[in-house]
Amino acid sequence: MIPAAFDYVRAGSAAEAISLIGQHGSDAKFIAGGHSLLPMMKLRLAQPAILVDISRISDLSYIKDAGDHIAIGAMTRHMDVEKSPVLAQHVPLLAHAAGHVGDPQVRHRGTIGGSIAHADPASDLPATTLALGATYVVQGPNGTREIAASDFYKSFLESDLAEDEMLTEIRVPKMNGAGWSFLKFNRRAQDWAIVGVAAWRGANGSGVGLVNMGQTPILASSVSTALAGGSSIADAAALAVDDAQPSADNNATVEYRTHLAKVLVRRALEHASA
């Protein structure tokens, strides 16, 4: 399969990328690693007239300790997130989840910013950063703004990003030793999750993100509220789908997904609390 014809330009900086995308409007798309966009273009589910390649903006590839949080440049590849000693120490849940995206070849190309901007509810990193209470920094023609992950995801593959805005940084709070678990249920190792759970629990509360349980990545707030109110893990996990809207597909019915989410949330919380 070969994508429909398009023009291709390369941006050397975020400002140049935003200027280029501004000139071409809704006909243009940013491309980073291309591992979400190119498959869609090959299937003609996306048909941009122009691609603005942002993958060479090397100053957007970094992982920095910024005090109470870790700042990750949007062009940081999954493999670099997975192998980061800084993340292993301060946000091990994210490093671990990044190691479950696709397969090694995909992780050599795909970026954390691309995955989040694509806003696929079936992807691992949107739900994981949502569970961790991340903040996304986006840059547009009039400067930068910060968006809480909980305000970012609007509907299926739709985010709060404007057409002329670019995700530049992901800020993830340090976990400060909180327990965590990442469970991904699928049929083949490299597949998207049928249901995935990213969970942490520590002195400051808990966070539970659900993969592939609705039109957006889901924050299972009801579970965390119940835990904070003294509920047992089993009782809290029973609320796992209260914030979700699972749908059926070739892999699972709604009932199966609902059951699976409750079981996986319970297991993840037991592991995170152990």
């Binding site: 390649d53 050599h108 490299q190």
Partner: protein, 152 residues
Amino acid sequence: MEIKVTVNGKKFTSDVEPRTLLVHYIREVLNLTGTNVGCDTSSCGACSLHLDGEAVKSCTVLAVQADGANITTIEGMAAADGTLHPMQQAFMENHGLQCGFCTPGMVMAATSLLEENPNPTEEEVRIGLEGNLCRCTGYHNIVKAVMAAAGK
């Protein structure tokens, strides 16, 4: 658009359409047909090659994205005198192939795996090759071959 790449040590300058996939450039422009197209959806790994030393799926990379890169394909693995790469030798000695279609991608993924983890356990090899499918289901000997190449 003009791109410059180094493939198996040789420099090439080519004019390509932006929509040209790297695998088609390698196969149809450079005539290096050892890299196979399997699923064409970044699932099967048959098109794996090394882009700046790391395995990638060349059906999901644009040729223009590889501009300036150093690329190695299966044809570049053996030495100039024909001596097989240790991974190729290990695949041969352990019968790590049946029909052979997935083999170039397996060899490229496996060498990239050992580059990142020179001393893997058998389980790490199995997980590390999760992006490569063998429809003959010949995984057992493929894993044996990779373990042999790692000196185990």
